[in-house]
Every structure is written in structure tokens, then in C-alpha cells.
Amino acid sequence: MSNTQLSPIEQRVDANQRLVAFSAATGSILLAIQHIVIEAHGPEWLSVSSSMASAAAWLLFLVAMFKNQRIFKTEDGKAYRAQLEGDEILQRIQKEAFTWGFAVMLMIQVVMILTFSFFDPHFLSIPVAATSTMAGGIGIAVLRYQILWSR
């Protein structure tokens, strides 16, 4: 293995981590789309297909989480987990990703309240607001984490 090449355990954990992150982001974004389509009285096929795609993404998320547990139960996995737990850079990245996600959630809330309460208050239902906020927050947090961790 060369100096900067990823070790097999790093590759496995990274690949699975990407799957966990992007399936959660995709699942929440599709869930938000589903509720927006329903609230906007959009075509039924679109709400059904986004709902099914969201469910598939969340299923993939569960599978990836289960796979994560299995990876960290191996000897290499346990050693790598110990390294990850003591890694201050990773902790900084997690904090920053969380901060970005939280800031975006707050921004979405403000934008939604200002925009929809002015133009169309009926559109601002709890399912739309909650899922959109969640999708934005998770999406940005995941994206920020991946950008920082893959540098």
C-alpha cells in the first residue's frame, strides 16, 4: 500500500458512509417532494413514485446502517473505529456539518414563513414545512461532511 492510498478498511467504511449519507439525504428530499406534490394537488403518479422512491432510499439507508455495524465488528473495523473516535479532525468536521445543516434548517423555516405566509398560507402545511426543513438540513449537512472528509 502506498503512502496516501486508502486501506481496505478505509475504503469499505468510506463507501458505506457515503451510502448512509446519500440515502438519508435522498430519502428526505423525496419525502419532501411527495408532500409538496400532495399539497400542490399535483399529479398522483408523481406523489406515488416519489413516495416509493423515498421508501426505497430509506430502506437502502437501513441496509447501509446494518452493513456499518457488521464492518465495525471485524478486527480491522474495531481498530479503525478506535481511530475514528479519537480523531479531532473528524470531530471538527462533524460539528461543522451539523452547524451548516442546522443553519440551513433555520433559513428554510424563515424563507417558508416569509414567502408562503405572504403568497399562499394554505401551502404552508406542517407536512410540507417539516419534511422540507428536514430535507434541507440533512442534505446540506451530508454534503458538507462529504466535502470536508474527502479532502
Binding site: 500500500m1 486501506s7 478505509e10 475514528l84 480523531d87 479532525i89 479532502r151
Partner: protein, 72 residues
């Protein structure tokens, strides 16, 4: 903000590591972080904490000043 793309701190980590014939992974294991973190510090993306800088210096048998310098 903790991240650092334009180096506030220059480092000679790569040179010092090469002098000790040590891989990023070996250094990472000795200081208790991941290889990726060593790589990101080496490339100037992150500035390590004082504790981590001291650990690096200890493992690479040099002073912190020999490892990290402020840009001119």
C-alpha cells in the same frame, strides 16, 4: 471556522515523516487519529490542536516549531 484552505500555518510534516521513513498511516496510528486526518493536516486543510501538534512532534522527534511555521 475550523477549516483552512489558505494555509495560516505552513508545515514540514511530509519532509519530517520522510526523514523518519514513516507512512501517514503509521503516524496516524501513533497519534491516535485517522490517516485521512494526517493527510488533511499535511495538505494544509486543517490546523491541528496544540495537543495533536505536540504528539506529532514527539513521534517525529522534533520540536513543534520545526513542524509548523507561521507564513512570512
Amino acid at each position: 471556522m475550523s477549516t483552512n484552505d489558505d494555509p495560516r500555518l505552513l508545515n514540514k510534516l511530509k519532509v519530517r515523516r520522510a526523514m523518519k521513513d514513516m507512512t501517514q498511516d503509521a503516524l496516524a496510528k501513533q497519534i491516535g487519529v485517522t490517516r485521512k486526518s494526517v493527510n488533511s493536516i499535511e495538505n494544509g486543510h486543517f490546523v491541528p490542536s496544540t495537543e495533536l501538534a505536540l504528539k506529532m512532534a514527539q513521534v517525529l522527534e522534533c520540536t513543534v516549531e520545526e513542524l509548523f511555521q507561521l507564513p512570512d
